[in-house]
């Protein structure tokens, strides 16, 4: 048999370590701060671990079954969905509208861009505290203003059925400036000659130009903006934690707040991990929709 392979190369080739050395630092950091914790959370979601406990038991999918039967969890999922359904379209459309208005301006473009972008740059926690003062039932600016005009006042953050709307409004205020900046960048990149062509082809009103050129060419930007806004809406936490703590009677409890409450107030780490997994699956699904399906439909080049 030996004669069959007279020049057989040595099977043990030298491993080239250089790429691994170069990848090393990034790889270590990713494993430590991203993949590791993710796997830990996934593992914990199958246990009954409690924060600070010395031991835990594997309980399989029991946490998920409990979640499924937990009315509170479903309510928090519904609240998150409601919040997103209000915030995503409104902040996207508002961002687009403001971007179009700014782009149509001749002067003060930078001024408008800056003031609409300010909420994005501000620390949301600090802003939430400011909102708390504005919305305060007795000495809040909003109620004082309403009183001045003889309109009914509300306890904005303590009224069931109203508090979530108020949080959504703050979310829109916080997010649309970011969307506006992305839309502005998208608008600038639309070639001017397409508008000339549209004018020659018979599009004479602003709406016709928008429908024929602006809207389709903003497609990639719009997709990006919608997905980013949706993910950020699902992540809403700061305002809830500061302003309502999920109340009144859990009417503003959202997914991340449930996770926080279960994990760090009731110390049910295993259960909180299960909530986190649900949250991650939703965000992952959104990202997949973006990359797999929609991107193919809206990119032209």
């Amino acid at each position: 048999m030996k004669t069959l392979k007279p020049h057989a190369p040595k099977q043990r080739t030298k491993i080239n370590w250089a790429p691994l050395y170069l990848l090393g630092p990034a790889l270590v950091l990713m494993v430590m701060f991203l993949l590791g914790p993710l796997l830990a959370v996934l593992g914990l979601s199958f246990t009954d671990y409690q924060l600070g406990a010395k031991a835990f038991n594997w309980i399989g999918v029991e946490n998920f079954i409990e979640l499924y039967q937990d009315k509170n969890f479903w309510r928090s999922l519904r609240n998150t969905a409601f919040y997103s359904v209000v915030v995503v379209p409104t902040s996207v459309l508002l961002g687009l509208a403001v971007a179009l208005l700014i782009e149509a301006q001749k002067s003060f473009k930078d001024f408008y861009r800056t003031i609409f972008f300010l909420p994005v740059m501000a620390t949301l926690i600090a802003m939430a505290i400011s909102w708390q003062f504005i919305l305060h039932p007795t000495f809040g600016f909003l109620n004082l203003l309403l009183k001045e005009f003889g309109l009914p006042t509300h306890n904005w953050l303590r009224t069931e059925g109203l508090a979530l709307w108020v949080l959504a409004a703050i979310g829109i205020w916080n997010q649309f400036g970011f969307n506006m900046v992305l839309f502005l960048a998208g608008l600038v990149s639309i070639p001017r000659h397409l508008y000339d062509a549209a004018a020659m082809d018979g599009a004479s009103t602003a709406f016709e130009r928008f429908r024929l050129v602006t809207w389709p060419l903003l497609g990639p930007v719009t997709l990006f903006v919608v997905v980013i806004t949706a993910i950020r809406s699902f992540q809403v936490f700061d305002t809830v934690a500061i302003l309502t703590k999920g109340g009144p009677s859990k009417s503003t409890e959202v997914l991340l707040y449930t996770m926080y409450a279960e994990g760090f107030e009731f110390f049910k780490s295993g259960y909180a991990s299960a909530v986190t997994i649900v949250f991650l699956v939703i965000v992952l699904a959104l990202t997949l929709i973006k990359t797999r399906y929609l991107e193919k439909k809206v990119h032209y080049v």
Binding site: D196, A197, A199, M200, D201, A203, S204, P216, G219, Y300
Partner: protein, 398 residues
């Protein structure tokens, strides 16, 4: 198909005046080129005619209608853009359909889904389909209809842009450097195709270009524009042979026209010697009708001169560069009196000259004489620098 009459059009952007009192008449069915260097205002003029910009003064009449204050869509003109300006999200079919849909369907019929229940909309769409296929057949782009612009080559996109312009049978076609984004070979091919298209359609074409070759090959008439005004408006032959301004002579023709500097001395032309050590002057036996002391430029084309032996020639210099074009050779001669090198076109079969050889240049035709400011001057007498007959043998030694 209509004539276009432009009268005293002016346009400025802020403080800079781009067009000054432009008047231009384009006959029905004529192919007219606006030729000029970039920044001369030719594209602005086209945009004013299209209605994409508004003129400050003057009027534009297309056919029987004064369109000066009308929106682009009401002028019934079609435009082809340098960058093609196809809608990237629409198929080729839909791109060509846009001008028809915008005109034949109302806003309600254009809504998506209306075709499901509007019989009228379906009928109009069928007519549109027919028109599109007709145009696509003319241009040979039927196979491309379902594709997106990004999947097409430059030449194909150019055809689609033409199709979109042709499909609604406009009064006239406005073309803004439509060939300049194509590669050299395709550009030459598309020139003849555009000429052919013009003949087939019999439509009025207004064509903007900075390429004098395009203007010369395709146009019935050329309007040469510089610095916001039209210098000359005439047939390609006249523009080439009888430029009325130095700038026209310089811009049209390849290689560039040869220019000698001189002045008028008591009604006669004198060519400058730029070398100050010798005080000799070259007198030419040319009478010009111009005041004494006026600086002039004497211009002649490369095919209007020939190489002669240096001894008898007034114009002589050293061969600095040879451009072999195959059919003929361009010989660059460094001559003191010339603004730049003098370029002589020599037939390929003529005796070869060497780089560095001292040669004379003889001008075989009456040259063009311009005042230094630009306008053409009339020349009265014949041009005699050296008798061409004595020359050919001398060259062999060069």
């Amino acid at each position: 198909m209509s004539a276009i009459v432009i009268q005293k059009i002016s346009k400025s952007f802020g403080a800079t005046s781009v067009l000054q009192d432009i008047s231009l008449t384009i006959k029905d069915g004529e192919f007219v080129s606006l030729l000029g260097p970039s920044g001369c205002g030719k594209s602005t003029l086209l945009r004013l005619i299209a209605g994409l910009d508004v003129a400050e003064r003057g009027s534009i009449v297309v056919g029987q209608h004064d369109v000066t204050r009308l929106l682009p869509k009401d002028r019934d003109l079609a435009m082809v853009f340098q960058s093609y300006a196809l809608y990237p999200h629409l198929s080729i079919y839909d791109n060509i359909a846009v001008p028809l849909r915008m005109r034949r369907l109302n806003a309600w019929q254009r809504l998506p889904g209306v075709r499901l229940f509007s019989r009228l909309q379906q009928k109009i769409e069928r007519e549109i389909r027919q028109d599109i296929h007709e145009v696509a057949a003319t241009l040979g782009i039927e196979a491309l209809l379902p594709r997106k612009p990004a999947q097409l080559s430059g030449g194909q996109r150019q055809r689609v842009a033409l199709g979109r312009a042709m499909v609604r049978k406009p009064e006239a076609f406005l073309m803004d450097e439509p060939l300049s984004n194509l590669d050299a070979k395709l550009r030459v091919h598309m020139r003849s195709e555009l000429s052919q298209l013009h003949r087939t359609l019999g439509a009025t074409f207004l064509y903007v270009t900075h390429d004098q070759a395009e203007a010369l090959t395709m146009s019935d008439r050329i309007a040469v524009m510089m610095e916001g005004s039209i210098l000359q408006y005439d047939t390609p032959d006249e523009i080439y042979r009888n430029p009325n301004d130095l700038r026209v002579a310089e811009f049209v023709g390849s290689p560039r026209i040869n220019m000698l500097q001189g002045w008028v001395r008591e009604g006669k032309l004198e060519i400058l010697e730029t070398e100050h050590t010798t005080l000799s002057r070259s007198y030419l036996d040319l009478a010009v009708d111009a005041p004494h002391g006026l600086g002039v430029v004497v211009a002649f084309r490369s095919e209007q001169c020939s190489l002669v032996s240096a001894e008898q020639a007034v114009l002589k210099g050293v061969v600095t560069h040879l451009e072999n074009l195959g059919s003929d050779t361009l010989v660059h001669v460094s001559i003191k009196q010339a603004k730049d090198h003098v370029i002589v076109r020599v037939a390929a079969q003529a005796p070869r000259v060497k780089l560095g050889a001292l040669v004379g240049v003889s001008v075989s035709m009456l040259p063009l004489v311009f005042s230094e400011q630009g306008p053409r001057l009339t020349v009265k007498a014949a041009w005699q620098v050296a008798a061409p007959a004595t020359l050919a043998p001398a060259l062999e030694t060069a």
